[in-house]
């Protein structure tokens, strides 16, 4: 049995995935873990979207009569040092997490996609210049770069997103570039050149859509990483700020200080982070298995 193991076989499957719910079912059967991940991600997205309707309490209003109450029927996950309902804050925190996760990973992966494809297509000095620049950014550890950027631009959701996005760009660009380099030599790109198409048409119509597999894989893997990074930055006091409900923020400050008398304060937000990142990774892994098993992220 000599199966055709071409790099684009992944895309073929992606094409299949695009059509019909039957494909979704097949995905679920082939990748039960991935489907479970997708379900959890969906739950978080729903929580984020419908936070206003789902959350039992206002996440911002302090209730000084209920400071640090343990989990109970009215406060399932207990309350924090301001008496705010932790469950509600986690539900609203999903907004911050999903916002940061989606926007940062989308922006990071997309920028990386464009840079990677351009770098591969133009070769020569453009490529080597971009490569050196990426080298520079790659040699900064993720958290260090993010830390420096937040220090420069200040904290707040938008800046945190920027800080998380920038370190992701070179990572995605690397992967996309190597895929695009392969693509550059693929016969259908040659055929497009033989048909006399312009550079932009070749890049946008023939190359870009075909690095979608690594792009999607990077994208999903970034989502988990973005949420983790946001939590780490918040933990260092550099993320979003009180009273905005955000998971990393909920782990910092009071949660740490009062961990012993109010263990629910650090435990539940931590679980929320772990569960969401876990789900994103499960889903991302399954996606990688389906799209491009050879790609390593």
């Amino acid at each position: 049995m000599t199966e055709v193991a071409a790099p684009w076989s992944g895309i073929v499957l992606a094409g299949r995935l695009q059509r019909g719910g039957g494909a979704l079912l097949r995905f679920a059967r082939g990748q039960p873990l991935g489907a479970a991940g997708m379900l959890i991600v969906l739950l978080f997205i729903l929580a984020a979207a419908g936070a206003r309707f789902i959350a039992p309490f206002d996440p911002l209003t302090p209730d000084y009569a209920a400071m640090m109450t343990p989990p109970s029927l009215s406060h399932w996950f207990g309350t924090d040092d301001f008496g705010r309902d932790i469950l509600s804050r986690i539900i609203f925190g999903a907004r911050t997490a999903m916002l940061v996760g989606f926007v940062a990973s989308f922006a990071g992966a997309t920028l990386g996609l464009v840079i990677g494809v351009a770098s591969a297509y133009f070769k020569g000095w453009v490529d080597s210049t971009i490569q050196r620049l990426l080298d520079v950014f790659m040699s900064f550890p993720l958290i260090v770069l993010a830390l420096a950027i937040v220090s420069v631009f200040g904290s707040g959701v938008n800046n945190v997103i920027v800080a998380i996005t920038i370190p992701m760009v070179p990572r995605c660009a690397r992967v996309v570039r190597s895929s695009a380099l392969v693509l550059r030599e693929v016969p259908y790109v040659d055929a497009a050149r033989a048909l006399g198409f312009s550079h932009s048409r070749i890049v946008f119509r023939h190359m870009l859509p075909n690095v979608v597999a690594p792009y999607l894989i990077m994208l999903t893997s970034f989502m988990g990483q973005a949420i983790l990074l946001e939590a780490s930055l918040s933990f260092l006091g550099l993320g979003v700020q009180e009273p905005t409900p955000a998971w990393g923020l909920m782990l910092q400050g009071g949660a740490e200080q009062y961990a012993e008398s109010a263990p629910w304060m650090p435990i539940f937000p931590g679980l929320a982070i772990t569960a969401s990142v876990f789900a994103f990774n499960l889903f991302g892994d399954a996606l990688r298995d389906v799209l491009d098993p050879k790609l390593r992220v």
Binding site: V4, S9, P187, D190, A194, L195, G196, P209
Partner: protein
């Protein structure tokens, strides 16, 4: 049988493509900070041939002999280092960008791998229709679709493949799509780069027949690049045999196969098994010693001399001239 008897109708036609002393050299560089050239791969090293309108020229040789590079060079996918390629009398290298696009339309290509030569994210209709639409050969979407459906019909594809994706088709069908795409530009000249090599024999025969039909119908000219000597003989009017970037022998196909003159051609023909045990039992293959040397460091003199049973001292020193030994029969060998 001699060469003149083999003359096909194409003989009377004007020359469509003329390649003279074409060279493609790839520099091999070293150094990361300061790059310097340390060697040259002579993928194609001074070849000349011409193709007349309506004719099929077969280009055969073993892997790495430069046949594919030659084809890519004619398609302007790989730049040439020296020499000229004239198409309809015009030097391709001298054309402006705009003029090149116009000429390029007339030269199309069919690739070997039917899996990788079609963009997996486009439907068959888009793949075939893109060229005519972009180059305004059709005026609107409706015309484009009609044109695509016509081409699909011509290449023997069912009408329902129009909206499907390449992965939904079989290898043979995909190769037909590749042919339809090439035809969509109303080309005069098609480079078939190992166009049937990846197909199973039963499918291969279908495609060969299709190529022949189309040639007759549209007066196409083919450069048929292949390592399969049997297929080349079947489809070509004339055949050129390449070895290490050079043409060793070029002749009408009957002449070349029945009366090969170059020792390399002779050996090559002798080792190809013929699917007939009776014939085979009477043949004795001429086994060549050793393997093809690296094009990075080709042997001096005649490039074939290290493996040539006839090699003498002159072969080691002097590059043999590619010369006529009979009408339409050229050989590069000191001993012919």
């Amino acid at each position: 049988m001699n060469a003149t008897q083999m003359a096909s109708p194409a003989q009377a036609q004007p020359v469509l493509l003329d390649v003279a002393d074409l060279r493609v050299h790839f520099p091999v560089s070293q150094g990361i900070v300061f790059r310097r050239r340390t060697g040259t791969v002579k993928a194609v090293d001074g070849i000349s041939f011409s193709i007349r309108r309506g004719e099929t020229l077969g280009l055969v040789g073993e892997s790495g002999c430069g046949k594919t590079t030659t084809g890519r060079c004619i398609l302007r996918l790989t730049p040439s280092s020296a020499g000229s390629i004239r198409f309809e009398g015009r030097e391709l290298g001298a054309l402006s960008h705009r003029a090149l696009i116009a000429v390029r339309r007339k030269i199309q290509v069919i690739f070997q791998d039917p899996y990788s030569s079609l963009n997996p994210r486009m439907t068959i209709g888009q793949i075939v229709g893109e060229g005519p639409a972009v180059h305004r050969l059709t005026r609107n979407a409706r015309q484009t679709e009609a044109r695509v459906r016509e081409l699909l019909g011509l290449t023997g594809l069912a009408d329902d493949v129009y909206g499907r994706y390449p992965h939904e088709l079989s290898g043979g069908q995909r190769q037909r799509v590749g042919i339809a795409r090439a035809l969509s530009m109303n080309p005069m000249f098609i480079v078939c780069d190992e166009a049937v090599s990846a197909l199973d024999v039963s499918i291969q025969a279908q495609i060969i027949n299709l190529l022949e039909t189309l040639q007759r119908e549209f007066g196409l000219t083919y450069l048929f690049i292949s390592h399969d000597l049997a297929v080349v003989r079947h489809i070509s009017d004339r055949v050129a045999v390449m070895y290490l970037g050079k043409i060793m022998e070029l002749a009408g196909s009957g002449e070349l196969y029945d009366h090969p003159r170059h020792p390399y051609t002779q050996a090559l023909l002798s080792v190809v098994p013929i699917p007939d045990p009776d014939v085979e039992s009477r043949r004795e293959p001429l086994l060549l010693q050793g393997e093809v040397p690296s094009p990075l460091n080709p042997p001096g003199g005649c490039v074939f001399h290290p493996r040539c049973p006839l090699a003498t001292d002159i072969c080691r020193r002097v590059v043999p001239v590619f010369r006529d030994i009979a009408a339409g029969h050229q050989v590069a060998c000191h001993h012919v």
